[in-house]
Symmetry: C2
Subunit: 583 residues, 2 copies
């Protein structure tokens, strides 16, 4: 009965403060209903319902500027800023993205999906305001989990010097995606226990003013806090204690499981499609490594589940000190991996493709310059991986392939992955990255390849006329193209898995000149600066025709992988036609 009259923040201000909890209850109920149908980020959004109502009551968005860190928690904000139909009406469920998006609303200032960015972005807005003579308030809302990221910490440090008006709301729900890691979380716990009054205070250490609110669901107190914050002429941290998943009892019991979730039954939280069955290949390979090699250390930066380590198994390995979650801190994880390998022990760091880019400098300078034999597992790379513009893995080849000393391996199946991991973790000559394919299948054939012969490609089938060099997940398509072409023409084309993305197999490329006139490269990432262009360059002065296919340079979002590939010419039919018309 409240929400139906709220079409923007202005309508919230028309309500009495005593009515706001009623509005919050409706927002929470709306959220739960939609999330149960569609899935999404559950815990973080349920935890900020009251905070969001209070923010929009106390501030005047869009004049005042709210910056949501990582924006995992922006659904209540979207509901209250003119987009409620996307949450109340199933026909409109897909009208909004899961992240803040300036294209959707003037109340969304940035499109973000990586953590730890809000403090710096808000600092930029504040400096812009100061330069333009503006007077509006700037507020960043950042979760406790995001505080471990270097960008956030750099931002806190500069905020401590910046002298103007800026509010940093720490939404402390005592949880990252998984549990928090790092010494600062002990300080947050002490601050919570002492009502913000303990002697040691990290935020004051950065030179920031500070205030604490224990009940982050008391709207009246939240509004009073924000009103006091508005009066501060200096940057101030408003540390607010909230409950992740508030309103869903089963979400409180397992906050990691309920960070992000598929559709579920509201009564008991049971997943509508049943519990997903996860592939255990990565976990099993790493558990085997940890078991066989007592010097082995596996690192994650806040995403242990990405490596298959969950529950008691995770706890058991963490206790050995050799399964290490450093929190959301990719730079530290990568440099630590270099240090572990530099010591002579074995290090594996597993990271999602969209986040490996947070450690480019560490990969180049800390790891590869030192040529330490650590291993990076790049997870969910390419077009079949994550599909939001905020979480793309389309440029891992661009980012990694040019770095000296690095060997970037691209397995096409589980057997190859296991053999490559064995190779990478037992050799001592160079750092290795492994591009773990999303379409991860057993080939049924044991892989006995010797990966110490660098840049040696695998010829899957040998034909003549045309050769298809296909990266990772696209090997299967290349085989389909070859089969379809054979069926139509009774001729065989050559199919190659390049295996190494950090170099080309010159011997093979030379040999193709004898009886091939066309090389087609297929990759499931961006074309520009990708693998295929290295082949084109190799044959640049040669009569060999080279056609490179990859994804166009854009922040693609919410796409269907096969459709996006086809739009970029990567389909069995199109490539087959190109081969037919060019040979």
């Amino acid at each position: 009965m409240y929400l139906e009259n709220v079409n923007g923040p202005g309508d919230i201000k028309k309500l009495q403060i005593s009515e706001l909890q009623g509005l919050a209850d409706e927002v929470r109920e709306t959220l739960i209903r939609k999330l149960s149908a569609t899935g999404g980020h559950v815990g973080s959004n349920l935890g900020v319902v009251e905070m969001t109502v209070a923010l929009h009551y106390a501030f005047e968005s869009p004049k005042d500027k709210l910056v949501w860190d990582v924006s995992h928690q922006c659904y209540p904000h979207k509901i209250l800023t003119g987009r409620k139909e996307a949450y109340t009406d199933p026909a409109h469920y897909k009208d909004v993205t899961g992240f803040t998006n300036p294209a959707e609303s003037e109340h969304d200032l940035f499109c973000v999906g990586h953590t730890s960015t809000s403090v710096s972005l808000a600092l930029g807005l504040a400096k812009g305001r100061d330069a333009c003579g503006g007077t509006e308030h700037i507020v960043a809302v950042i979760g406790d989990g995001a505080l471990s990221g270097g960008e956030a910490l750099e931002g806190l440090n500069y905020a401590g010097e910046y002298g103007g008006r800026l509010m940093l709301v720490i939404n402390d729900n005592e949880q990252s995606v998984a549990e928090n890691h790092g010494g600062l979380y002990k300080n947050l716990a002490d601050l919570r226990e002492s009502g913000g009054n303990c002697t040691t205070n990290l935020f004051r250490g950065f030179g920031l003013d500070y205030e604490y609110l224990e009940d982050g669901h008391d709207i009246e107190k939240l509004i009073a806090l924000f009103e006091r914050g508005k009066k501060s002429e200096r940057p101030i941290v408003l540390h607010v204690h909230t409950v992740k998943g508030k309103g869903l009892p089963y979400a409180l019991d397992n906050r990691e499981d309920w960070h992000s979730r598929g559709p579920f039954n509201i009564e008991d939280g049971y997943p509508k499609g049943g519990y997903p069955v996860y592939d255990t290949t990565i976990h099993d390979s790493l558990a085997e490594l940890l078991t066989k090699d007592e010097s082995a250390i596996v690192l994650t930066a806040g995403t242990p589940r990405a490596l298959g380590f969950v529950g008691e198994d995770r706890e058991r390995w963490a206790k050995t000190g050799r399964f290490v979650d450093v929190g959301i801190a990719e730079e530290n994880a990568l440099a630590m991996a270099s240090g572990v390998a530099g010591y002579g022990a074995c290090a594996v760091f597993g990271v999602y493709a969209p986040f490996v880019q947070r450690a480019y400098d560490q990969i180049s300078h800390d790891l590869c310059l030192n040529c330490n034999p650590a291993t990076i597992l790049v997870l969910l790379p390419g077009v079949y991986g994550m599909k939001s513009s905020t979480h793309l893995g389309l440029c891992d080849i661009q980012m990694l392939s040019h770095i000296p000393n690095l060997v970037y391996l691209s397995p096409s199946c589980k057997e190859e992955y296991r053999q490559m991991l064995r190779y990478a973790t037992t050799q001592k000559k160079h750092p290795t990255a492994i591009r773990v394919p999303v379409r991860f299948y057993e080939s049924g054939v044991e892989d006995t390849a010797d990966y110490s012969i660098l840049n040696k490609a695998k010829v899957i089938s040998r034909g003549s006329g045309a050769c298809i060099i296909a990266v990772g997940s696209l090997i299967k398509m290349a085989e389909e193209i070859a089969a379809s072409y054979k069926k139509e023409t009774d001729k065989d084309v050559t199919v190659v898995n390049p295996v190494f993305l950090t170099g080309v197999d010159e011997e093979l490329l030379e040999s193709l000149k004898a009886d091939h006139s066309l090389v087609v490269t297929l990759e499931d990432g961006e074309l520009d600066g990708g693998y295929g262009q290295r082949i084109a360059s190799y044959y640049g002065a040669d009569p060999m025709k080279v056609r490179c296919f990859g994804i166009s340079k854009r922040f693609h979002s919410d796409f269907n992988a096969d459709e996006l590939l086809a739009e970029n010419g990567i389909s069995v039919e199109n490539i087959k036609e190109i081969i037919k018309s060019n040979t």
Copy 2:
């Protein structure tokens, strides 16, 4: 008389503690003598002479592991670990690099030149030690200036959780390269003033134990501190107050000037070659921008001098709040630039090419995904820029050119630079990076190009047969090649400045097909994944021959730029011969 008997750390232990200051004095004298002849990092090394003597007395390197952050301060360490001839004997001055280097000595654990890495690298060594059952001590030495970097802060946070033995020596000389920036430096000042006893303590906020030493030049106290540190079973911060430039009175007076310095007269510090004259083009262009556009904000991450802002001029602009040094914190600077531009103000961030890679994620996700019209000035790019393996700018094109929405402009002269900066800072459509060339000359011709016509290359001279597309600094060479070829053959080749590195001029490339059979691409960065391969790929299925030239994929070090170019085929003679034999 002490130093002559010290050929390794073992020899230091043979001395009485009372004799160690004598050794330190000799090390300092040796340093001053060599630095006056060769130049190098002056202030930081003179500040750690006593600390280094004490470290090697208290610990047993190489069994115990010393990690020097950024390694700007490793000269005394090198002198004391078997490499003193490189400092005492002019004939051996070039035997060692300016950074720690495992290839030189088992006492050097990592090759590093970027700041803020030591905590994480040391954590990795500590985890490796724990896994391997080792018992040795691990010590990171990190300067106060490096603490503002996100990687160091991530490391401090994880160190607060790591439960094992680890010593973090904060070498606090109250100075970064330039002055320090950020709230944590207020805390360091309070800690110094209170003898480490003030209530607020950033390090304790990260969960770390802490001890302070006021006189970082008292060797006996330093040894006692390190001995206490050795007894700690948990990570402990040993905060040591030192004097940057100690021993050179004139270096104390201007610590920024004496951070790094060319050869000088010992008596008065006067530079042997006279004071260098710096090009003021960048400074003047930015000062003009700040003057004309009151919303303009210029950002630097700890290197204001790179933008030509020094002395009173810097202070004056800093006071306006629109010349902003965020300290060594590239991630924050880049995200702030996105925030400033997102607000609608004008933002320019200037950064050395080797350090732009510290903000890859922020460029892609925080800036380009949001398509905010901030400007990045990439300084000292390519082979003519910095020439140490720790400070290479050979991969800026690889790192930036594939990022969607970004426009990467490559001026060949000052006029083009100024016009590009005007364009970048007045348009509101996209983020722009400008690759400021090292060989920065006035062409004498006003540039009136309209850079809003994206990907439009400039044809410097039109010929036929062959076309040279040359990036940035190599345009001059391309013109020389054309002139030399003309002289020999009386034929004209086409010379093109691509201008845009984030796309190709398809219209021009198409038009070349009519009367050209060869395109040669020249770039002053790495070949692999660079600009030229985009041209090769464009012509992949066409009879046009394409020969791409760039630098080989290696961490090149201490090279002569022209020689390295020639080794990679980039010389007037070689390219001319290639054109002659291919057309």
